[in-house]
């Protein structure tokens, strides 16, 4: 009974482990900012712990570097089973500005599976709180992919019925005659 009560009470309290795999410390400062009394994220039950064995959530900052990818993987495997990974910042989400240099493997999701993305460089503390609230289920996410398509060609020179293929691999049949 006590176990059930504890699960009910602490079911949504996430203990976070803070892993930086080679970022610039900008996102670290924002994450520590979130834990201060002004943004006080402990009212959601979130607590910073020092070991991945105690943690439910891993906050990843910085891209996966060639030197730190294995350590990141080890830290991820050390976490107990129901685990979440948050990628915080542009580096962890997409590899950052230096995504194609020799030392950078790419985004964190190349090494470990990522559940939630918080883009920004660095994200505002409010954005991090918003990401946590999306994960806990307090609010809904706001972004959606935007797509704009030309439905009709302004000049009917090449007729769309002459096109073959789908999406990005479109071939125009009468290309030789132009």
């Amino acid at each position: 009974m006590l176990k059930n009560l504890c699960q009910k009470m602490f079911g949504r309290s996430l203990w976070v482990y803070h892993a930086n795999s080679g970022g610039c410390n900008g996102c670290d400062i924002e994450v520590l900012n979130v834990l201060t009394p002004y943004y006080d994220v402990e009212r959601f039950g979130i607590k910073l712990v020092g070991s991945p064995r105690h943690a439910d959530v891993m906050l990843c900052q910085g891209p996966a570097l060639r030197a730190t990818a294995r350590a990141l993987r080890t830290a991820y495997e050390a976490m107990p089973a129901p685990k979440l990974v948050f990628a915080i910042g542009g580096c962890a989400c997409g590899g950052g500005i230096w995504h194609d240099t020799y030392a950078v493997l790419g985004p964190v999701e190349k090494v470990i599976p990522v559940n939630f993305y918080i883009p920004g460089c660095p994200p505002r503390p409010e954005a991090i709180i918003y990401g946590v609230a999306v994960a806990v289920g307090l609010v809904d996410k706001k972004v959606a992919p935007v797509e704009f398509k030309e439905l009709e060609m302004p000049i009917p020179r090449y007729h769309p019925s002459d096109l073959r293929g789908k999406d990005e691999m479109v071939v125009y049949e009468k290309m030789d005659k132009i």
């Binding site: 002004y38 943004y39 997409g94 939630f116 993305y117 883009p119 505002r124 409010e126 935007v146 479109v170």
Partner: protein, 174 residues
């Protein structure tokens, strides 16, 4: 001594009151010059790909599918919100919005994709953008050229001489 100092501390704490933000319940406005997620306006974009060439994170991709359609894709994953795309855009089609609540479970939610129509040159068959920004700057608004005197007038308040010019088109710079 320690007791009195603790009492003083408690008084200070009581005077300050509650400082914690009630953030997800109440929205938090940002500063006026805050740069958030860039928003692409497809109706203004001329497809010059200046944003793609100037993006430091190389995350605006351009693909010429065939002769007249160019796809411009903004990934949104490694964007640093530096605003260089908005600075370089000649048509002001990119605006840095105040949107920062972009946390999502699927990274594809941040994409913006525009399918743009490019004009074709009738002589060489290549794509070109319609009018260059400099030309458009010159051609803004209505033109009141003097057809009878064959004068090209930049502004309508230019003074016109009565005798016609016969040899060539001369440019009046007001």
């Amino acid at each position: 001594m320690s007791m009195t100092s603790k009492l003083k501390e408690a008084l200070v704490g009581l005077k300050a009151g509650c400082v914690t933000l009630d953030y997800p319940a109440h929205p938090r406005p940002v500063a006026e010059n805050f740069r958030g997620r860039p928003i692409f306006d497809a109706s203004k974009c001329i497809g010059c790909a200046g944003c793609a060439n100037n993006c430091p994170a190389r995350e605006i991709l351009v693909l010429d599918v065939y002769q007249e359609i160019r796809i411009l894709k903004y990934l949104g994953r490694r964007c640093t919100y530096c605003g260089r795309c908005a600075d370089i855009c000649p048509e002001k089609a990119i605006t840095m919005s105040h949107e920062y609540e972009t946390a999502t479970g699927n990274i594809g939610d941040l994409q913006q994709r525009l399918d743009l129509f490019m004009s074709t040159c009738q002589r060489c068959g290549r794509c070109f953008k319609d009018i260059s920004p400099l030309e458009q700057l010159k051609l803004k608004g209505y033109r009141f050229d003097d057809l009878s005197n064959e004068r090209w007038i930049f502004r309508s308040r230019a003074y016109l001489e009565s005798e016609p010019v016969v040899d060539d088109i001369k440019i009046e710079l007001d």
